[in-house]
Each structure stands twice: as C-alpha cells, then as structure tokens.
C-alpha cells in the first residue's frame, strides 16, 4: 500500500469518526413548518405563529360517524363528558348547552358595557318609546315568551342587540341536542388542548386520551375521526418515521440482494456499500452542522442517496477487469464518473438554494453525500478491493445487455413519437400544468388534508378567508384600534362589501369605550323620568321596569370588564383566539364574513396612530406565496440545467457531444412530465425538482453511453454497470413513490420514472450502433481523454 493510499484511508477514518461524533449530538425534528415556506411579511409570521402555537393550533376537530344518529349523539355526549375531566384539555364542545348559562350570565350582567348601541341618546324618552313599541309587537308574535322575560330588565334591548351581532357566526346544526354535520350523519366535537400544537408529544397524548375516552363511549360500529394541526403533527411524525424506516429497510435489503447476486461475495458487498454509507453519514453531519437539526423527511430522502451513491461503486466493481488492479478500471472510468458527479451536484444545487428549509436540507444532504461517496470510491475503495476482482454476474448479463442495446436504436421513431405526444400533452395542459395550492407542499398526506377540509366544512369552522390583523404596543391600544377598524367595517358592510365581522372588542371593549358607555347611562332620576314619558299611553305596567332602573344604576358602580371577567365562559376561548400578545406587542384579529370586495374593504380600513391594520386575503396570500416559491424553484432549476450544459460543454468540448448527452435526458424529462400530467397530477415544486434530478441522475447514463469504450469487453461491462446502477436508483427513488409524505412521493415518482426512461432513451439514441463501435472508438479515443 502506497503512502498516498494510507493517507487516504487515514483521512477517511477521521471523517467517519467526525461524522459519528456530530450525528450523536444531532437533534432530529419532524416539525411540519420546515416544509412550509418561510414567511416573508410580519402578518404572515403572525399567522404562522398562530398555526404553530396559537389557539388554532390547539384545536382538534372530532367526527363520529357510521352508526345511527341517536347512538352517535350518545357517543358524542359520553366522549365529551370523559374529556371535560381530562387535564390535557382546556375545553370540549359538542353542542350541548354546557357553559351556555355562564355565557348568557356574562352577557346579561355586562350588557350595557358590551352593546355598541349604547349612547346617551339610546336612553332618551323618544328612543325608549320606540323600543317599547317594538317590544309590544314582539310580545304579540310567537317569540313573545322570551321577550317577556327580557323586557323588564332590558327595555332598551341591549342583550338582543348583542346577540344579533353574534348571530352571524357559523355554528354546526344540532340533532338530538349535539352538533351534527348538515347531512346528519356525523356527530361533531371541538376539543382544545392545553399544550401548543407544536408540542407533538403532548398532542400525541391528547389524541390517545380521545381514543381511550371514545372506546367505551362509542357504539361498536361507530368510527372516530380526528383532524387539526396537532393531529397532523403527530401523524406526520409517525408517517415520516414509519416511511423512513420501512423504505430504508426495504431499499437496503433489495440493493444488498442485488449486489450480492452481482458480486457473489459478502466482503465485496460490504465494500460496495462503503462509499454510500460514508456519504450518508457525511450528509447527515453536514445538515446537522448547517441547519442545527435534521428533519425526518431528509432521512427518508437518504434512501434515494443509497440508490444513487451505490452506483459509483457499481461502476468501479463491475468494470474491473480480471487480472488487473482495480485502480486501472478506476483510472479508465474516473473522468466520466467525475463529470457525472459534477452534473448531479449542479442538479441538487437547485434544491440547496430553495426557500424551503426542508428542500434545502435535502439538497445539502444529497450533495455532501454524493461528493463523499465519489471521493471514497476514488481514493479508498480501490486499495481495499481484492486484486483481480471481477463481477461474475456481469459476464452472464453482458451479451444479453449488449444485444439489447444494439437493437435499441430501432426504437428511435417510436421515441420521437412519444416525445411529440408528451410535448402535445404539456402544451394542451399548459394553463393548468402547475398547482397553485400551497397545501401540496405540506408533508401532510392528501387524504388527511381532504378529511380536514370535510370536517371543517361540516363544523362550519371559522372560514379564515379574509382577516384584518391589527398590531399595537398595548392590549388596550389594540382593542381601541379594533373598535376603530370595526367602525369602518360596519360602514363597508352597509355598502355591501361584506356581511359581517367578529372582533375581540365584541367580548372585551377597550377601557375608553367601556367608560363612554357607562357614562352614556343617565343618572337614575333622569332615566326614571325618561322611562315615565316613554311609557305614557302604552299598555305596560309601570312597576315592571324597576329591575331595569336598578340594573342601570348598578352598572354605574360596576367594575369594568377585563380579560379575567370572561373566565369560565366559552367566550373566553373566542377572545383568546382573536387577541394575543407577542414579543413586540399585541395582535388583534378580525375575521370577516361574506366578503364581496376585498380591495374595497382594504381601502376603507385604517388604524388609529400608533397601531397598524392590514387586511389579509389568506387564500390569495398563500397562493401568491406559493407562486413566488415556484418561480424561484423554476429559476433555480433552469439555472441548474444551464450549469449542467456549461459543465458538459467545458468538459466534452464539443457542442455535438453535449447535444448527444442531453438529447435522451431532455426526452426523458418531457416524457416523464407528460406522463405525470396525463396521469392527472398537477405538477408541484417537488415534481419540478424531481425533473431536474432526472437530468442530474440520468446524465451519468448518457455520459457513459457517450464515452468511447476502448474495447468490446469494456463497452459490454459499461452497459452492464449502467443497468445495475439504474436498478439501484430505481429501487431508491421508486420506493419513495409509495410514501404517504407528498414531498417524498412526488420526487420518488418523478425521478424513478425519469431515471428509467433516461437509461432506455440513452440506449435508443446511442450513436454506437455495434458495427461502428470499434472504428469510432479508435478514432476518438485520444480526443476524449
């Protein structure tokens, strides 16, 4: 062993030790937000914060179906009763009137402070008279029984006014006393966990509690459905863990079996896996150092590296000639291999530069892994191989593979037709080629996303389509701003721009407003006189209204409403979801209903000095965000493709050869994209990245096809090695196509299909049509090396 090789092996050992040290201190995450775009604006940050830890993140929507309505209603009651006693839940609502009494009591006690109709004029004789006449009509109507109960304490109609404002809020329908979907087939509940949504362990415990409370509560055949951010985090973690482990084991077993069949030696098998194992360790260590933590999806993606990185040792081991040192084979193929690695790096760079930290991790992992695998193949592997090693299976497959390749060019015209068809499909569908849906980027499976949409629709969960987000330094300032914005929104509603809105100041008015409302109540003597005049000539008994005079007087002495005043009511939950503190102040959120002119509303709202108000169109905003990221991904992908072209031009020094190398890859990309569209997929960023990887991975094949083999034996071995390499790549990426995690599924499907096509197309478009091989090879050998 030469000194150089000893150094190489020493350096490799140091690298392995370092990687192990780094990995042992690495934290692994499955946080979903790594695969959501980084949010560029403060408002979107607020929303992402809310999604991570706000009330929204702690809601679990529960559905129970698959049994008769009465059984479902009973299961819902029992489940709710079981969970209400559980420490892990802040509240559990299922439509039963539990807590409604506290709500009514709070609203009744504070009606004069909460009603935005309260002004000094409201209690004039004329206004009171008007209200009393209206009450008279109400009393005669079918609604009389309730009106009669409220009237004595509230002749000015404040409670009715407050309830009328709340009425627009969507609530699920009730059947048998509990919430049901509109079709009456699914009982619905909303549970709020104590722990934040990102606390996956706590969320997992909460889900387990729901399941165990359901087991005795449910009718035997009833089915429990759950959705919500917490459910997503938990299931995503489980899926990622499950997929990563399962596919890793399957891929490892399949690849090992293949290698064993080729090399018929456990020792060579171990050596063949050495570069890729080192590469994977280096990749994880690099991501850990670069990002601080490694995402579970990155590990899942490592499987593809296994398929891709093992190719390098396959090229070397399969092409080793009997009776010669492995170093000779290496010297022969290294220029081509090096170029292949470099083009792969160009491809993965597009991922590295992406705005998604998740995708960037995958890029860094792959680039590091491939570079290290190639270096180990180049410097370490040859000195460890048994001298004179040759792969027995390669000899068996050789003639067959060579014959297939000789006949492949006959398929040129069918290939041309396929490409033309693919282009036609892509051109026909160009309007709807790309998905605009941000949710396609989420690692949450599509079936889970569908269930989520369905339950949300059933439950009438707040449609957060449009939202006004207000910031201010203090709680009271943000409430004042919310009231000011609310006034503009009422104006906009009168103009028909929207149906209504909800505001935290509905439940907790600002101090200034509460003071003004309290001051609007006249002194007891004045109020009594006004009432006397209002009652003249009406059929009411005077003494009935003593309750009103007493309450009005009491309100003047009552403490103001504070956050704590709502404790124990369900309104506290609503308030908490609309009003929150952040590190730099307070945020109020005003969800809008029935928006018909978002731009018009945006023009009308204005926050008072010191506060800021922004109108968000959530769907539009996230679509815009997605398009930005897609444009970015497209740009990087095109840049990556351009880099590959430049790299090939610089290395091959012949536009004609570059064309020959790229033609099968371009055809593979077009046909893959066409097939995806034809199969009904809308292309996502992940498909796009996958297509670039087809070029990066496939370039190895076309480069080896293009390479001038010095002899027939050499060419045969090259083709066999490509075949084996392609199969391992297929195993790696193809398996991912079965993953439930969209990012893994999309990339796996695209690259698996594309890599296979790239190899087949390379063979079809190969210029070496058998007879001319030797002659052509001799003529160009000098030029190419």
């Amino acid at each position: 062993m030469t000194a150089g090789r000893r150094w190489a092996i020493g350096a490799w050992l140091v690298l392995v030790a370092t990687c192990i040290a780094v990995i042992s201190r690495t934290s692994f995450t499955t946080d979903i937000s790594a695969f959501l775009p980084r949010s560029p604006t403060p408002e979107q940050r607020v929303l992402v914060d809310q999604l991570r830890e706000g009330v929204v993140s702690r809601l679990i929507l529960i559905g129970i179906d698959g049994a008769p309505q009465e059984a479902l209603a009973q299961a819902s009651r029992r489940l709710a009763a079981g969970l209400r006693n559980h420490a892990g839940f802040v509240s559990v609502e299922n439509g039963e009137d539990i807590g409604a009494a506290q709500d009514r009591e709070f609203l009744w006690r504070n009606r004069y402070l909460l009603s935005d109709a309260v002004t000094p004029e409201r209690f004039s004789a004329i206004a009171l008279r008007e209200r009393l006449e209206e009450y008279l009509r109400l009393l005669a109507s079918p609604a009389g029984a309730l009106a009669r109960r409220i009237l004595p304490g509230d002749p000015s109609g404040e409670l009715l006014h407050i309830l009328e404002r709340f009425e627009g809020q969507a609530r699920p329908a009730r059947r048998n006393g509990v919430w049901f979907s509109p079709d009456g087939r699914r009982a619905l509940l909303i549970a709020q966990t104590r722990a934040a949504g990102y606390d996956i362990d706590a969320q997992e415990r909460a889900l387990a509690a729901i399941r165990s409370a359901f087991a005795p509560a449910g009718a035997a055949e009833a089915r429990l459905l759950m959705t919500g951010p917490g459910v997503f985090s938990v299931s995503t973690r489980a899926t990622i863990r499950g997929d990563a482990l399962r596919f890793f084991v399957i891929a490892a077993v399949l690849i090992a079996a293949l290698l064993l069949a080729i090399f018929r030696s456990p020792r060579v098998l171990a050596l063949a896996l050495l570069p890729v194992a080192t590469g994977a360790a280096a990749g994880i260590a690099a991501v850990s150092l670069g990002f601080g933590a490694v995402h579970g999806v990155t590990l899942g993606f490592g499987i593809t590296l296994l398929g891709e990185g093992v190719d390098y040792s396959i090229y070397l081991l399969t092409q080793s000639a009997p009776g010669t040192a492995p170093q000779r084979a290496l010297d022969r193929i290294w220029p081509t291999l090096r170029l292949g690695v470099l083009t792969s790096i160009c491809g993965f760079s597009a991922m590295l530069l992406s705005g998604f930290s998740g995708l960037a991790q995958l890029g860094m992992f792959s680039i590091t892994g491939l570079v290290v695998a190639a270096l180990v193949t180049r410097w370490v592997l040859p000195s460890l191989l048994p001298p004179g090693f040759t792969a027995p299976a390669a000899a068996a497959c050789g003639p067959w593979a060579l014959a297939a390749v000789r006949r492949a060019p006959a398929l040129r015209y069918p290939l041309l037709v396929m490409v033309v068809l693919a282009v036609a499909v892509l051109a026909a569908g160009r309007g709807s080629l790309w998905t605009d849906d941000l949710s396609t980027l989420s690692p949450v499976s599509r079936s889970a996303q569908l269930l989520d949409q369905q339950l949300r629709r059933d439950i009438g969960a707040p449609d957060v389509g449009h939202l006004v987000v207000i910031h201010a330094p203090q709680e009271d300032a943000v409430l004042q701003a919310a009231e000011a914005v609310g006034a503009s929104l009422r104006g906009a509603a009168r103009a028909g721009l929207l149906d209504g809105y909800e505001s935290p100041s509905d439940y907790l008015p600002s101090r200034r407003t509460q003071q003004a409302r309290r001051a609007a109540l006249p002194d007891p003597a004045v109020l009594r006189a006004n009432l006397e005049r209002a009652l003249a000539g009406l059929p009411y008994r005077r003494e009935v209204f003593e309750a009103f005079l007493k309450d009005a007087a009491a309100t003047k002495e009552m403490p103001f409403i504070e956050r704590g005043s709502l404790r124990g009511t369900r309104l506290a939950l609503r308030l908490e979801s609309l009003l929150g503190s952040r590190y730099d102040g307070w945020v109020a959120m005003l969800p809008l209903r029935g928006v018909t002119d978002a731009a018009g509303i945006a023009r009308q709202i204005a926050a008072p000095p010191g506060a800021s108000a922004v109108m968000l169109d959530l769907k539009g905003e996230s679509d815009r965000l997605y398009r930005t990221y897609r444009t970015e991904a497209l740009t990087y992908s095109l840049a990556g493709a351009a880099a590959i072209v430049l790299l090939l031009l610089a290395s091959l020094r012949s536009p004609q050869r570059v064309f020959v190398v790229l033609a099968p890859l371009t055809a593979a990309v077009l046909v893959t994209a066409g097939a995806l569209v034809l199969a009904g997929f809308q292309l996502s960023i992940f498909h796009l990245v996958g297509l670039l990887l087809v070029v990066a991975v496939g370039s190895n094949y076309s480069l080896f096809f293009d390479r001038q083999a010095p002899s027939g034996w050499d060419r045969e071995r090259t083709i066999v090695s490509l075949l084996f390499a392609n199969v391992t790549t297929l195993i790696g990426f193809g398996l991912l196509a079965f993953s439930g995690v969209p990012v893994l599924h999309d990339i796996g499907l695209t690259v698996g299909m594309g890599a296979l096509l790239a190899l087949v197309f390379s063979a079809i478009l190969s210029r070496h049509d058998g007879e001319g091989t030797a002659r052509a090879a001799e003529g160009r050998n000098a030029a190419s090396t």
């Binding site: 029984a145 309830l163 009730r174 059929p539």
Partner: protein
C-alpha cells in the same frame, strides 16, 4: 341554525324566535267510535289529512295592563306540515315542515329558517299541537303526560310537560274540541301568563 338572507336592518332577533310559542290547530272531523277514549280520539284526528282555519289569539301577560290580540289563518297538511299565518296586527308567517321552521315577516327580505332539533323547548311546544293533529300518541306522550276529559262531542286534552326544561316555562297546555274538531288551545305558563287561541273552522 341556518339563516338565509340576513338583512342588515334591525329585525326581530333570532333568539326571540327561538322561543316560538306555537299555538295553532285547525278543526278536524272526528270519526265516531264506540268505547270512546284517547286512542279513538287520536285515530279520528289521524284520519284528517288536511285542514284550514281562522284563529284569534289573546295573550294575557303580567307585565301588561291589557291582553295582546293577534289573528290570522292556520293550515295543516298531514302528517308534518303546519302553517300559521298571522295577519294582524302585523303580517308574519311561520311554516313548520318536518323539523324545519321557516319564519317570514312582513318586512321585505326577512326570512329565517331553524331546525327543531336545535331547540328542544320549541320542539316540545310544536309537538303538543302537531302530534295532536296527526293523532300521534307515542310522540305526544314522549313530551307530555296526557289526560283526556269529556266526551266525543266535547273533549279536552290536558298536556303536562314531562321534561324539566319545559316544566320551567309551561305549566300545562289545554287543547279542547267538540264534534271532532279542535276549537281552542290554552297555554298556561308557570308565572301565570296565559294565551288562548280560539279556532273557527273554515272548512277542510
């Protein structure tokens, strides 16, 4: 609660309408039978498939010096449709079909719908009349303790609520009829307030 076509203008708030104290029932033809009792009365009532009538309702309330009076028409179509069209003092119509109640008021565009299942109290009210008209004794006894007095020519059903929620509001509902048709419904509330609806036939 499903609400359609909500106007921005002020209107009778939904919460009030939740307490729809239905008082309605058209006259029905009695089918005479021997050994007359609740079963026979129910059979006779069930035989009527549709009817129409005029009503006058008087509400006596402790908070008022004088009773409030309203009047209009009633329509019943077996087994589950009931319409109460109030014409005076203010036009308002209330249509009950299955579990859905639609309320339309005279002011244009004011129409709202609610589902009986959402409001157990209203449901109890509604069933007192509808189940009587339909001759549906099982449903009636689910909500009330039923007592029959009188004879086939002049009878009176007394319904006492069985559910605590209803017991809090209503002491009893008295439905009286003669010669096979309902002639009056009297609702007596726990606080002593009382409404009497007198029904005069308009032919089937």
């Amino acid at each position: 609660m499903a609400i359609v076509n909500r106007p921005a203008a002020s209107r009778a708030p939904a919460v009030l309408l939740l307490a729809v104290a239905l008082g309605a029932s058209p006259p029905v033809l009695a089918a005479a039978a021997a050994d007359w009792g609740v079963e026979q009365l129910m059979q006779a009532l069930a035989a009527v498939k549709s009817s129409k009538a005029r009503f006058v309702e008087r509400k006596h309330m402790a908070i008022l010096n004088a009773p409030l009076e309203s009047s209009g028409t009633l329509v019943y179509v077996a087994p589950a449709r009931l319409e109460k069209h109030t014409l005076a003092p203010r036009a308002e119509s209330l249509v009950l079909d299955g579990d859905d109640i639609t309320i339309t008021s005279s002011e244009p565009g004011q129409r709202r719908m609610l589902n009986l299942q959402d409001y157990p109290l209203i449901r109890a009210f509604v069933e007192s009349i509808r189940s009587t008209l339909a001759g549906d004794l099982p449903t009636l006894t689910r909500f009330y303790e039923v007592e029959l007095a009188g004879n086939e020519r002049k009878w009176r059903l007394t319904l006492k609520p069985g559910e605590p929620g209803m017991q809090e509001v209503v002491r009893e509902i008295r439905i009286s009829g003669g010669s096979g048709s309902i002639s009056a419904i009297e609702t007596i509330e726990t606080n002593g307030d009382r409404s009497v609806m007198t029904i005069t036939g308009d032919g089937p």
